[in-house]
């Protein structure tokens, strides 16, 4: 069975500073990996996904993530955050043979002025 660990429940960052949100997963089989964002009082929006190919994945709003198979990680990065990036970020994994997506507990990104 797959699982996702997001070690940081909250990450405060100053505006225009870089940020990295950490995600580790466990699975005995090949997986797809995702990052979703949930803005206040809204639904889940896909930021980016890794299915195969290049390990560096670029998403919307300037975010990118790198798949590291040896470290079973899929950390999310942005070189310069904006106040509008304030949201909860969920890392998620899906077994390539499976229907469901398994979500992490989420990391709340606080942008400090």
């Amino acid at each position: 069975a797959q699982s996702v660990t997001q070690l940081d429940s909250q990450v405060p960052v100053f505006e225009e500073a870089p940020v990295e949100l950490r995600c580790n997963y466990s699975s005995s089989v090949s997986v797809y990996l995702f990052w979703y964002v949930q803005y206040p009082n809204q639904g889940l929006q896909l930021l980016l996904k890794y299915l195969s190919g290049s390990t560096l994945v670029k998403g919307i709003n300037g975010f990118e993530a790198e798949f590291n198979k040896s470290q079973t990680s899929f950390h999310l990065r942005k070189p310069s955050v904006h106040i509008s990036d304030t949201a909860e970020y969920f890392c998620a994994v899906s077994d390539i043979r499976d229907d469901k997506i398994i979500f992490g507990k989420g990391t709340r990104l606080h942008i400090l002025p």
Binding site: L44, D99, G106
Partner: protein, 114 residues
């Protein structure tokens, strides 16, 4: 841009009552899902649906839950006799490809059981 729409956005119901949460998936999508998020907790998978039948369900999805695609556009989640612990945000999602290569989520229905 096509999107998944859910109604109502907020539903308040008394314990023991039946509720139906409605979703209109993206029109050419074939795979449909329900997830829920209890306040302050992670998003949890409930059920997936393909070709007019349940393809997978979680332990949460017990006999009190059912899903239906009554026509070509709607996808519903019914909770037969709601409990206080069913209070959560319920998300519908749909995908046009097998195995969750990209699921598009709706805005959610906040269910409050009192």
């Amino acid at each position: 841009e096509p999107e998944v729409t859910q109604t109502p956005s907020h539903q308040v119901t008394q314990m023991g009552q039946e509720v139906i949460l409605r979703c209109v998936p993206i029109s050419n999508h074939l795979y449909f899902y329900w997830y829920r998020q209890i306040l302050g907790q992670k998003v949890e998978f409930l059920v997936s649906f393909y070709n007019n039948e349940i393809s997978e369900k979680s332990e949460i999805f017990d006999d009190q839950f059912s899903v239906e695609r009554p026509d070509g556009s709607n996808f519903t989640l019914k909770i037969r006799s709601t409990k206080l612990e069913d209070s959560a945000m319920y998300f519908c999602a749909s995908s046009d490809a097998a195995r969750n290569t990209e699921a598009f989520f709706g805005q959610g229905t906040r269910l409050t059981v009192v």
